[in-house]
């Protein structure tokens, strides 16, 4: 039967596909071990070394190759991502909570919030830059860029929390009220612990999106650069294997974030069982 040939053929295709997806990264990883500082960002590997990794951390003697401007821009990116994470998660949880009931203007607010993830980065960045310039507000990573980052990440946090609340069985909240517990205390002691895995996901999403954010930040950020901007500025000049080493480190960082998230999730899920999905029959 045709499908019997089809499946293995497809399987091979998917294998090649994955190779296509991972290829550049594999090459990047290999080249990050290029000899330095004379080794260039292309094959062949003249000599294997971890020179460029040490260069990232400033542990190499000065050469004609300028070190990557990581330092303080990394700090800015982390702080910005943290601020964005907290703001968009808080706003997203509140908005999702509001969406549990009907109210006039609900559909419009939905589209307004989701709009933030649809509009491409340069347009939002352009707009922010414009507003800043014409009103005389100075552009900074912690003000204008921050506002734009939240515009981008809030829809994601919001949608995650919407999905969580969708599966949330509200009868535990009603039970708490019937026991004489006020809605605010109920939210603190019952609702929040049970939606916490979702909140964690939203926080992770927001942090990662903000940390890697580039196109919005480019036009709304002012002179002090975040990490992606700093990296971008090296593109127009020659690139060196230190960018590759940086890429590998950055990926490892992302994975460690994922690992932290997974650990936190398992811990909180063990506490909350499932997100308040009650079994009708015991």
């Amino acid at each position: 039967m045709e499908s019997r040939i089809f499946k293995p053929v497809l399987a091979v295709y998917v294998g090649l596909f994955l190779l296509f997806l991972y290829g550049p990264f594999i090459v990047l990883g290999i080249l990050s071990f290029q000899q330095g500082p004379e080794g260039g960002p292309q094959f062949p590997i003249t000599q294997w070394s971890i020179f460029w990794y040490r260069d990232i951390f400033g542990l190499t003697p000065p050469s004609r190759i300028a070190p990557l401007p990581i330092g303080v821009s990394l700090f800015r990116s982390l702080v910005l991502a943290g601020m964005t994470m907290i703001t968009s998660t808080v706003l997203g949880v509140m908005a999702a909570q509001a969406f549990r009931k009907n109210f006039p203007g609900k559909t419009a607010s939905f589209y307004l919030i989701v709009l933030g993830m649809i509009v491409p980065g340069i347009l939002v960045g352009l707009g922010s830059g414009l507003v800043a310039t014409t009103t005389g507000i100075e552009r900074h990573w912690w003000s204008t860029a921050f506002a734009t980052h939240v515009v981008y990440t809030l829809p994601f946090a919001f949608l995650v929390m919407l999905a969580i609340f969708n599966r949330f069985d509200a009868s535990v909240e009603e039970a708490a009220w019937s026991l004489g517990v006020s809605p605010i205390t109920t939210f603190r002691k019952v609702t929040f612990p049970l939606i916490f895995p979702g909140v964690l996901s939203a926080m992770l999403f927001a942090f990662t999106l903000s940390y890697d954010e580039f196109s919005r930040t480019l036009l709304s950020s002012g002179r002090e650069q975040t990490l992606p901007l700093a990296i971008y500025s090296t593109f127009s000049v020659e690139i060196h294997p230190n960018v590759f080493a940086f890429g590998v480190l950055t990926t490892l960082f992302s994975f460690s974030l994922l690992a932290v998230y997974a650990i936190l999730m398992t811990l909180s899920v063990r506490r909350a069982k499932r997100v308040a999905i009650q079994e009708a029959i015991g």
Binding site: E174, A175, W177, S178, L179
Partner: protein, 352 residues
Amino acid sequence: MSEEPILRLEGLTKRFGSQVALSDVTFAVGRGEYVALLGPSGSGKTTLLRSIAGFEIPDAGKIILSGREITRANVYERGIGFVFQNFALFPHLSVKDNIAFGLRNGARRLSEDEVLSRVLQAIAMVGLTGLEERGVAQISGGQKQRVALARTLVMQPKLVLLDEPLGALDANLRLRMRAELRQIREQLGIPFLHVTGSETEALAMGDRVIVLDQGRIGQFGRPDEVYNRPATPNVARFLNRYNVFDGALDGEVFASAYGRFAFGIRMASTESAYAVRYDRLVARQAGSVSPAIRVSYIASEYLGAAIMHFFETNDGKVVEVEHHLSNGPPSTFSEGEAYDLTWTAEDGIVFG
């Protein structure tokens, strides 16, 4: 009733969009009563319960608890206990913490010692001693039911509402819990309002039974009253014990498509109907008695202490005849054969 009723409802009405869930519901419940609220799905019984609890706000009417009007009061300020059908236990808390939740997080601040002693009392009352530290996912359905109950009772409510509390339990457990619930209520001396879709449960548990019919009260009375003298044709239908026939009162008899029948009981009602209980009918050879309903035999069902015979009229209406085996051995019928069903006139109830 000599003393002031604990709960009074006056003209309670609730609409959902264009659908009327409750229409002009009025009744009162006293301190020592176990009231069963019976009705099919869609009758509004859950809406009624939720309105009393405060989860729904009625469009019109009043709810008065111990003399104080609470129609629009906050749920958490009413002092009414609610036991959910799916138990609604807090999944992230242990049995003990579930039961202690209201005491620890409510408006009144109690010392932890006081909390613990009350919790242990409640646990003993529902028979869960030894399970205090278990997680709620690790206990059985019946045990979850008791936790839900204990959690409510420990708050010393003035009234307890139960929304099909036994619906999720298996038959054996259900029968045991019936007796236990009545016992607990007796001990506490507060009224219980228990919603159920099962007529046998309602009749067995209630000191009085409210039958809800499409948002209105069909009947409110003692179980034997409801059982023997249903107030409306729909109440008779819900009881699952009556054959109900359409027609109209014509002088001293009831005229229906199946014949003209004398009757023994007359109930005032807006709908015209004639009802005879299943166990009041006997089946005889066709043509042997009059008046009678001509039917053909379909099948029989063995119920243990009785046998249910199913017959069908020419126009397809199913008529059930129940034969209690203590009255003697059952007759045998042949499928498709014609028989006459008859009964004594006193057993006939006319509505209209």
